[in-house]
Amino acid sequence: MLQRLRRRRAENGQTSVGKGPVTPTTLLDPIPIPSGDPLETVLLSAGGPVGVGDLELVSPTLETIRSAGVELIVPLIGQGELLGALYLGPRLSDQPYSSDDRRLLGGLAAQVAPAMRVAQLIREQQAEAKERERIEQELKVAALIQQTLLPKELPAIPGWHVSAFYRPARAVGGDFYDFIPLGDGRLGVVIGDVTDKGVPAALVMATCRSMLRAAAQRHGSPSQVLAEVNDALVPEIPAAMFVTCLYAIIDTERGDVVLANAGHNLPYMQTSDGVVEIRAAGMPLGLMPGMDYEEKRYTMGSGEIMVLTSDGITEAHDPRGEMYGFGRLMSRVARRSDDMVTAVVSDLEAFTGPDAEQEDDITLVVVRRSSSAQDSALAFESGELLDAFTVASEEGNERVAIARLAEVVAPLGFEERDVERLKTALAETVMNAIEHGNENRPELEVGVEVRATDEVLTIRVTDQGGAKEIPEAQTPDLEAKLAGTQTPRGWGLFLIEKMVDEVRSTSDGRTHTVELIVKRKGAL
């Protein structure tokens, strides 16, 4: 960047300022000297002011300078670089510049140049700092958008265990995942990745997520959902940006998984025969309209696991530059683990090393189908026993049970609202046990056991009515009750199901057990 100015000089050789009979000072528009112009070379090597009349160069810049009436160029040089130049017009006395004038101007230039260099450096640094701040701010916004839109909680489905892991890279890529309840025991599962990073990627992710949610409610087929989202996304998405995305619909009653894949990492199924990749062909979303997406089906058996990943996992590098890759991921998934998310993440961390900066977002969604009884027993037995007591089967004793529960859970950090919900759920469960299980026979006891893991609190209520059928909770028909065509009663099971995250009933022919399960705050 070159600073140029011309001063008409007063007759006494000083720059004219203010009043006086002299021609007023005029400023010239800046005339930059492009890098590589022959004039630059001349000025750098001149060792002092250069008279324009002495120069014979083929340089358009020199012509511009000459025609602006410049007579003398005083180069400002610092550390071998041309930092700027002073352009001076003819002396007001019409005398040529003397060698004294030139020496004086040369000395002045030697003083000015270093100061100008410092000023330039400071300005560059300030611009850099501003740019860094802008980037930081943008990263914050991108992270905020992304985190706001990722699911706040995981679906709780009896007989299934869903877990997810998301860790953004510093520059925040465009990974996302989503769970979409579809009714009739069906669950939509999405994992995707927007090319590009930062705010643009986060905005595309937000758009894509909304489109997926809307399309998922309209179509029961994953290929139709992806085709529709693709067509909707093409006109919205910036050029050269696209989205890889896998969409699966799980029928949680039957274990059937139907999926389509828009160019995302292949899903892995961990089966008793090893790991199976499910290949469903499809182009990434947002590239071109009218795409078809292949659909694949798989029926998950008890204990089988589906693992969905983003390329932040498979494309992570170790310190020698080797990629983690699909092979390592597949062999990690092949080894059984009760906590596949942690298993994969620790394996990846061991590979990249402890100090590695994460290159891209890492996203992992693991869906496990397990038999409800196994799952329940596992979760319950692994919890810490907080309390176990019994109450006699007499009306009103549910209040004894909830008073004791309130004391037991007091140190666990539940919010008051959650404690109240737990109390209502337990009261109703104990009432059912007293009345229906034990038929109000005071000599029969209702057992209550409270256990907690870091993730869940589980309350087990056991009565002696094991041989009886366990009724299903039905949504009471309030209109019918108000019209008198249905008994006003029948609220117990309905309330219990609304008050806790999950209710499980089991029976062994002698006893009947109901488990109330609530997630603890802060647990995934």
Binding site: G396, E398, E420
Partner: protein, 113 residues
Amino acid sequence: MDSEFRATTAPLDDGSVVTLVGTVDRGAKETLEAAYAEATSRPGRVVLDFRGVDYINSTGIAVIVGLLARARAEEREIHAFGLSDHYREVFTITRLADFMTIHDDEEAAVAAR
């Protein structure tokens, strides 16, 4: 366990207020129905004051449903106030809240018409 329930009735400008105290379960049925009958000997709405209620269970909800059924047959408005946040949620979940007007406090309940 103490499951006592009491209910008293007082007139309002435009109906009556029934003050419930104690536990609302099936044991509250007769007392509450008697209080309702007394309240509805006057014309106008019935305001239920739940401030003194410490526990409501599903059998108590059934009792309130019975009351709402009677009120609906008689085309009488039911208002309520003094419910804890938790029981307000229970009333919402069970949709009882759709058939009565629930107010934040006594002042709002009395002022409403």
